[in-house]
């Protein structure tokens, strides 16, 4: 299939060369050890750099939506603004609040960051550019990403602050509700793909993305996933947990310095994670646009490396998320919960059955033409 195309700029060329070089010069144990350490370092570097890029992009795009200029002082077009912000947040005092539950207060950022790093590791950024590729990938992602809410609840409860408490409770109700819809929307696509492994899922979408494969049913699942993913990250019209005009900052009111920075980091990365899972499951992930039979066209598309395709698709989804965020007013908590429990969840349950019928009757597509 696609292995036969020439892929000059893929990362696999670099990694296989590195692997061979390490194994030649070092004993087996140390070669593996160094490779594992490299995976960790690259992952953390990508995590931090992506967060900084995302924060800059978000601020700039937001500024354009609101007819402002946005950051423009630090570096050309303000591109070093987030670097300066990171340095600033690193040298800010971490204030000790004397009424908090100390243990839980310090444990909360761990849950947030570890949950989002674990999810981050399962994202396929490109061909073979994925840290953990479990055969239960989709399930793993839904499982570990929901650990983050424990951090939010701990932060709200341990702060001993009414604003934090209300913010955490709202966030908890919102997250667990929309977690269901996101899970069911992904499950619909699992029914279509017949596998939970991300790499297999992407290979199944070589000639036709999942969003077209399952006709209207996939489209419904895609829209539901975008809405619920948006709500899970506490953004846009669903930002009541940290509604700054009513709750100062919600569950992280009491956090200062880098501890606050961790919550901020996790929030932005979660936005990226939701967009990249949507791109992987619905829009073919890193797989370039291919049309079966058009060999020359496919080869041309493969000259563009797979990670560029991935970040392109994710970028479009992130832009969509920002567009929604700055276009709608904030919902009330009862409207929020009604949307989930009275509309999205029943639609989702029916949608799964429709998808099963589509799959069993063989109406799904495998290539577009």
């Amino acid at each position: 299939m696609f292995q036969s195309y020439s892929q000059p700029l893929e990362f696999t060329n670099l990694t296989s060369w590195l692997d061979a070089a390490l194994r030649e010069n070092l004993p087996e144990f140390w070669a593996v050890f160094i490779e594992l350490a490299l995976v960790g370092v690259v992952l953390l570097a990508a995590y931090a750099v992506l967060a900084m890029i995302l924060i800059y992009v978000e601020r700039k795009i937001t500024a354009f939506f609101q007819a402002r200029i946005g950051p423009n002082r630090v570096g050309k077009y303000g591109i070093f603004q987030t670097v300066a912000d990171v340095l600033k947040i690193l040298i800010k005092e971490i204030i000790q609040i004397n009424k908090v539950d100390k243990f839980l207060f310090y444990a909360a950022p761990f849950f947030m960051i570890v949950a989002s790093v674990l999810t981050f590791g399962a994202i396929p950024f490109g061909k073979s550019l994925q840290a953990v590729d479990f055969n239960i990938g989709v399930f793993y992602v839904t499982a570990v990403s929901s650990l983050g809410i424990i951090g939010v609840l701990l932060a709200g409860w341990s702060s001993n602050n009414k604003y934090s408490m209300i913010g955490a409770m709202r966030s908890g109700a919102q997250f667990v509700s929309y977690e269901l819809s996101a899970g069911f929307a992904l499950m619909t696509m699992v029914v279509l793909s017949g596998t939970m492994q991300f790499s297999e899922m992407i290979e199944n979408q070589a000639y036709c993305w999942n969003i077209f494969n399952g006709h209207i049913s996939s489209l419904v699942a895609f829209v539901i996933y975008l809405i619920s993913g948006h709500a899970e990250t506490n953004r846009g019209p669903f930002d009541l947990p940290e509604a700054e005009s009513e709750l100062t900052a919600g569950y992280h009111t009491e956090y200062s310095g880098l501890q606050f920075g961790f919550f901020y980091l996790a929030e932005y990365l979660n936005m990226f994670i939701i967009a990249s899972i949507a791109a992987t499951v619905f829009l073919g992930g890193w797989m370039p646009l291919q049309i079966s039979g058009w060999e020359g066209f496919n080869q041309l598309m493969w000259y563009i490396p797979s990670y560029i395709w991935f970040f392109g698709k994710v970028g479009v989804l992130i832009f969509l998320s920002l567009w929604v965020r700055w276009s709608f007013p904030r919902l009330r908590i009862d409207q929020l919960l009604n949307l989930e429990w009275k509309y999205l969840l029943p639609i989702n349950l029916v949608n799964i059955l429709v998808m099963v019928i589509l799959v069993l009757t063989g109406l799904t597509l495998t290539d577009l033409f």
């Binding site: 953990v132 667990v176 977690e179 429990w341 969840l345 349950l349 019928i357």
Partner: protein, 117 residues
Amino acid sequence: MSNLSLFLVVFLSGVILVVGGLGLAILISPKSFNPQKGEPYECGIPTHGTSWMQFKAGYYLYAILYLMFDVEAIFLFPWATIVRELGVSGLTSILFFLLILGLGLAYAWRKGVLKWK
């Protein structure tokens, strides 16, 4: 490299990010003491009592409903992967499962659990 060792590496790198970041911040950040600073921030007004109190039951009801559907999701994911091989019998058996859960949701809806008071 097995998936498990890679998973451990990813987990450890998450922990190291938090520990390392906090350690560095504690080392280089300034420290000053002021009794006012230790107070919870509630917009400058002195706080009344503790915040660890009884809370609105509505959130709890939604959590229980969530539990019901989330456990269902655990059963449905393995079914979803092999539904092609199972064929029609797979569809009919899960149909009853979903029907009973749907009835549960309908009951909760009828009882007014989904109404925010």
